[in-house]
Symmetry: C2
Subunit: 385 residues, 2 copies
């Protein structure tokens, strides 16, 4: 490939950076214990409420999303209490690992990889196996490209005044409609390297009044991820520990861009790209990994029979600079994943589909060149007019 | 279009910026009268020789390419002397304007828009209508997307020891093979906002020994564009007037990238994109404006009968953020131009062709979606394997 190859991330995090936000960080030479920074912090927290679509408190943590997942356990639960976990992939399994690490008994409701959680089954467990301190799920299971019905689950959990609903929306925010306040999503978790278009290093949590009441009584040990302490400090534009200043400044800039674009339009953009990807894959004779309820955040596609998906991933990068994701765990080699969360536009999708057609052809598949692109173009015509 | 639209330049200058080079400029806090800057200047001039493929002196001017075009007249010609101009488009006509501004008699050889210059006709004029102080042509006529045979012209002009050959290679450099030293291209002109991947503001000129001898005797008035004065200063890493420091620093960075990629590979990349564009346009039933000798730098495509090319330009930008160029002068509304010079890769071409298909369809053309992309993909397969 002796030509120009631009590397572009089509991974479900990190995602393409908004250059305006990068530039803001570049010129940020600020100390965090200043009124200038406190002002940025307060504005960013307000913008995050817009992004989360909530009036609940939102906190910023200097950690990855997994830190906020840990925080949502240690702040809500006391030793001896039990939690209910819905899992349908690698990120659902992370809840189980966290519960185990803190010696908390977890009851799990499991869906096979590629399927969404059965809310009816979760309802039944809540009724029959409770009480539970909290219920833990993903909005979008990034490893399988499946979306869970957190709205329906919220309607169930709100009948339990002593049970919080915790939603990992790390790839759900900005890609799918979420109404934390109406739906009763007590804790919602986000991360910076996702649809919010900036680099990794920040996690976000929104916390409802119901959750704050439980947090006041939760006894698991915690220090860095102490939500109540953060709430008190962040109300003043401060943080308990040194904040990741340049990331917060780029977040401030990216959220202004998103507010200008419109939260709903960001979600509609991901939905367009996801539907176009699915139709392109089908037109190329590929099977989708999500059996139902596919996520807008990421499309998981099965490699053709007998082909290692790693070969597709490798050739996409070598030939076209397109960094797509392999499957995780037992899905490795079987699927590849194409992300749509954040700063992507439709021409990029046309390009990646055209590249995929060529890669499949070079790997020995029968491909009608242009047919995947055409399927994506037809979705564009239907949605964008 | 309520989704994410990323604006991308597909214009024949300015062209997409190399971000690494932009970042170098961002952190450049340097005074030009320092050894640190002189070192950068000397290295940049050496890298420019690589880029120009010449051992001749290369100078950097703080001006657009047109300034260097003016310089190549005022430094070579004296009042009363005559020049020969080859023109086949808007940039060829610029030579005529310059000659007129300085009261220099110009004999012109003209080719119709869309055609290359007839070197035989230029040879005849040199034989029959001389003597000429210099011959002025473009390597690539950007307004029509046509490439002129400067190699053949060099073979002709080298028989005239008192006549220099001046080549505007502003869009030719980095897109087409040039061998100034072997081919006898005495002055070659370049610009920063072209295949060299940085922002506008710099012009470059290479000057042969034959040209330096004539420059010593040329009497047209000149001050800012005094090549001999620049040569003396730039040999020391200095400039006669304040240099555009950040542009030179980003040029230094971009030329290092190009040297790593390989000058020939940069040219091959443009050739691939140009051929793929031509085949895509033909597959979509569009006529190419260049009747023969199409340039690698830019592809000029005729709008379908009865359609204003401005509508295509407008819709490409509105729907897909793709900034393509309309025709200039009498070609406005009749053609659109898609550039390939510099920092472009093949996925971007797939994307722009997919977008063009949709725009043509929305403007009422009959289009088989995906057919232009397929034609481009087939060129990729043939060239890149």
């Amino acid at each position: 490939m002796p030509g120009i190859i631009k590397e572009r991330l089509f991974t479900p995090g990190p995602t393409p950076l908004l250059m305006e936000a990068q530039a803001s960080a570049m010129v940020a030479n600020v100390h965090h214990r200043t009124e200038a920074f406190r002002q940025i912090m307060r504005e960013t927290l307000d913008l995050l409420k817009y992004y989360f679509n909530t009036q609940n408190d939102v906190l910023i943590l200097a950690s990855s999303g997994s830190g906020a997942m840990e925080g949502s356990i240690v702040n809500l639960v006391s030793p001896g209490e039990r939690i209910l976990i819905g899992t349908a992939g690698k990120f659902g399994e992370r809840w189980l690992g966290l519960a185990e690490a803190y010696g908390i008994e977890a009851v799990k409701v499991e869906a096979p990889y590629g399927h969404p959680l059965d809310v009816g089954e979760m309802k039944q467990r809540l009724e029959q196996a409770g009480p539970f301190q909290a219920v833990y799920v993903q909005a979008t299971e990034t490893s399988t490209g499946v979306s869970h019905d957190v709205k329906a689950l919220g309607e169930v959990v709100r009948n339990y005044p002593q049970t919080c609903l915790v939603v990992d929306a790390i790839t759900g925010l900005g890609t799918t409609e979420l109404r934390p306040d109406e739906w009763g999503l007590d804790i919602v978790i986000g991360g910076s390297q996702k649809a919010v278009m900036i680099a990794p290093g920040l996690a976000f949590v929104s916390v409802s009044e119901k959750a704050w009441k439980m947090i006041a009584n939760a006894k698991l040990p915690r220090y860095y991820f102490d939500f109540a302490k953060e709430r008190k400090n962040q109300a003043k534009g401060e943080t308990s520990y040194t904040p990741a200043t340049t990331l917060i400044i780029s977040l401030h800039s990216a959220l202004q861009y998103i507010k200008g674009l419109g939260r709903e339009n960001l979600i509609a953009n991901a939905a367009l790209l996801a539907e176009a990807s699915r139709e392109a894959a089908k037109a190329l004779g590929l099977k989708l990994f999500a059996v139902s309820s596919p996520a807008n955040a990421v499309t998981a596609v099965c490699a053709p029979d007998g082909m290692d998906s790693g070969a597709i991933v490798k050739e996409m990068r070598r030939r076209f600079g397109a960094v797509i994701a392999n499957g995780q765990g037992s899905m490795k080699g079987k699927i590849f994943r194409l992300a749509h969360l954040g700063y992507y536009d439709i021409p990029e999708l046309f390009a990646v589909v055209a590249g995929l057609e060529l890669v499949l052809l070079k790997l020995g598949q029968k491909v009608e060149l242009g047919s995947g692109v055409r399927a994506a173009q037809e979705i564009y015509l239907r949605r964008a007019g």
